[in-house]
Homo-oligomer: 404 residues x 2
């Protein structure tokens, strides 16, 4: 008689964004006339940039002819894309990352969920609290946790590193030594950043205790300040202790196009075993490459025209971030984030819980945000608003919230 993976049953309720979608759909069907404004899930709203559209059409045409048709892609991704990434995201920033240390994928969500597979089940996991739920849930599914404790809202056996106002939402080293540390800066959900000096301390710490850092850089395109690192490989020694995840979803609007990449430096080893070879094995065995047309679209992100157009697109969203940040601040809300990140993290008023504030916002302002408690116990009493709406809707949403 077959058995199921019992670890799945440890997960309370369903995935955060699915829950939100259900609540919103229920409200919308009861109130069909309500014009709901969505500042919840981090989905983009601006169309793909012209340079990307052009690259997609061109690649589609290639697929229409036997001479230029492309079947299975190379395991790691096409050389043209990996070279563009290595040059633009690393070499030009003074980071020592080679094209063959880059693994192209269909997005950072998959990679951040799958990367734990190459590690033993006995590793102690440390995550920020609040945190992007995928890091936690995928380790629970694999069996790297005990049961869920409804009182602490934590899983037994995992290390939670509180990110609070007091520490500017940058975690301190945990009391117990972890083996695998997930960090994401600019942070989802808090919008907080880490300085290069602070990140260097984390790299030194990881090397000292023999831990791996899984560094999620999905939001690096939103960095506006000088001293904030775009990559963990700007820090000395990171090649020996860090894996970095990248997305094209937020810098290029690829949430519905699906493209990302992961960097596993060849210097990152456990004894004699390169993690690079393990991840290559996983990629070769369980994955079959991102679509050719999508990889060509990714290449266009690094073209001169693409870069210029996407700089404008990011600026468009950051203008929204400013509208939300300043609008709510002026209305008396306690807000952070929004300067180097497309997320604004606000304290719920009147000691409401995150979900109470979610319901209030949905029902009274017809605005959808993301409850901070969905990201962990220390997210309780906080709320995430995203800058990925249109200008018009963002202004309207801030007006509705401040009038509420």
């Amino acid at each position: 008689m077959f058995t199921i993976n019992e670890n799945y049953l440890k997960l309370p309720g369903s995935y955060l964004f699915s829950n939100i979608a259900k609540k919103v759909n229920a409200y919308q069907s009861e109130n069909p006339e309500a014009q709901i404004l969505r500042l919840g899930i981090g989905d983009v709203t601006q169309p793909l940039a012209p340079a990307i559209i052009e690259a997609l059409h061109k690649a589609v045409d290639e697929m229409a002819n036997a001479e230029t048709f492309h079947g299975y892609a190379p395991d790691l991704g096409y050389e043209f894309l990996r070279s563009a990434i290595a040059k633009n995201d690393y070499k030009d920033r003074g980071c020592d990352i080679a094209a063959d240390e880059i693994f192209v994928s269909d997005g950072a969500k998959c990679d951040s969920g799958n990367i734990q597979e190459i590690f033993g089940l006995d590793n102690k996991i440390a995550v920020c609290d609040p945190v992007y739920p995928v890091y936690v849930d995928t380790n629970v599914m694999a069996g790297r946790s005990g049961e869920y404790n409804p009182n602490t809202q934590n899983f037994d056996g995992m290390i939670y590193m509180p990110c609070l106002e007091e520490n500017d939402f940058v975690p301190e080293f945990p009391k117990e030594n972890p083996d695998i540390i997930y960090l994401c800066f600019p942070n989802n959900p808090t919008g907080a950043t880490i300085t290069k000096a602070q990140l260097q301390e984390w790299v030194d710490y990881a090397k000292r205790i023999g831990a791996v850092i899984i560094y999620d850089a999905a939001y690096e395109a939103y960095i506006t300040e000088e001293e904030i690192p775009h990559s963990i490989y700007e820090c000395e020694g990171a090649r020996e202790c860090a894996i970095e995840l990248h997305s094209f979803s937020k810098n290029a609007g690829f949430t519905g196009v699906r493209l990302g990449y992961t960097v596993v430096p060849k210097d990152l080893k456990c004894g004699d075993v390169q993690l690079h070879s393990l991840w290559a094995r996983r990629h070769g065995t369980k994955y079959n490459g991102a679509p050719y047309i999508v990889q060509r679209a990714g290449e266009a992100v690094y073209s001169d025209a693409g870069k210029a157009q996407l700089k404008e697109q990011v600026a468009y969203y950051m203008q929204n971030a400013k509208v939300i940040y300043e609008g709510l601040k002026n209305a008396g809300y306690s807000v952070s984030g929004g300067v180097n990140a497309p997320y604004i993290w606000l304290k719920t008023p009147d000691k409401m819980t995150s979900w109470e504030f979610f319901d209030k916002l949905l029902h009274e302002a017809n605005v959808v945000g993301t409850p901070g408690s969905g990201f962990g116990a220390h997210g309780e009493g906080y709320f995430r608003l995203s800058a990925f709406g249109s200008h018009e809707n963002t202004i309207k949403a801030v007006e509705r919230i401040t009038k509420m």
Copy 2:
């Protein structure tokens, strides 16, 4: 100190098709003038059908406007695609499968590798021998096997079901009861088929012993004979014991486009737990949907124009299968498959090993095939040729082999 997933180290050498690529690349760089014909990896060569190209262009244009732009896709896939699948692949064939039992993905390789995650690590796995390596390797990676035994070329703790000439390459029930049974018909690599009556016996057997069948139907579009089932759900009771995997790679040439789907019927349960809800949880947590433009391309596969064009495309490849099958048979080779499948399975001459024959073919005929032993111990002494080349190259390859 972090640890790695030691199960990865059990896997001998690297993935079959990566190995082949390395050998071919090495030969090509030493012999740059050699015109190598590839009948190895099951990659298609014909361009995408016009109806699919049209759908892709149209969807790309939608992504260029804010009003028609599409961000994150629904977890299970777009309704328009799931409905088309439910109607065409199931309802029209008399199978009772609903649209919300279909999970759209980026391909059957990923799904066939990932599906094991929702099961416990204590399940006993049964696979055909020879077999598509992904089923075995992904279970080894998860820890459902002992060590690799170089003498038997088997992993300890797994059940191998020999597929031989004597049983027409259809396995018999194993002596020891398995918990999870992988079946693939029309078969990769042997090209063998199973009749509906035979498949019904497997369904009855699985229900009797409490096992799940993971049925890989990636090649169903190549079925030409009446009594061969296109889906396991043509069998009575399959809703309670079977998961089915589908690919768009072979019926529509999507190897470089990436689209597939998996069916998990809601009647398939372990106690009270629906496997459907576990797979939904995995999909929602670790996956972010196939690209919108690709799902629109998938929809076009089921349009009238798409159907007509793809019927021709499949016929084109099956003409190749006939050329290979008859050419080699007339030259005295012992061949099977090729009638309801795009693969021809041949016995190596003169008791050569599969890799010896691979090298001979590469060096003397400049033809690439796939060594049968790469698919398991009982594939030793066999060789797979694929019908996915062009007519011209297929004819040329058969000429070169028969002259050899």
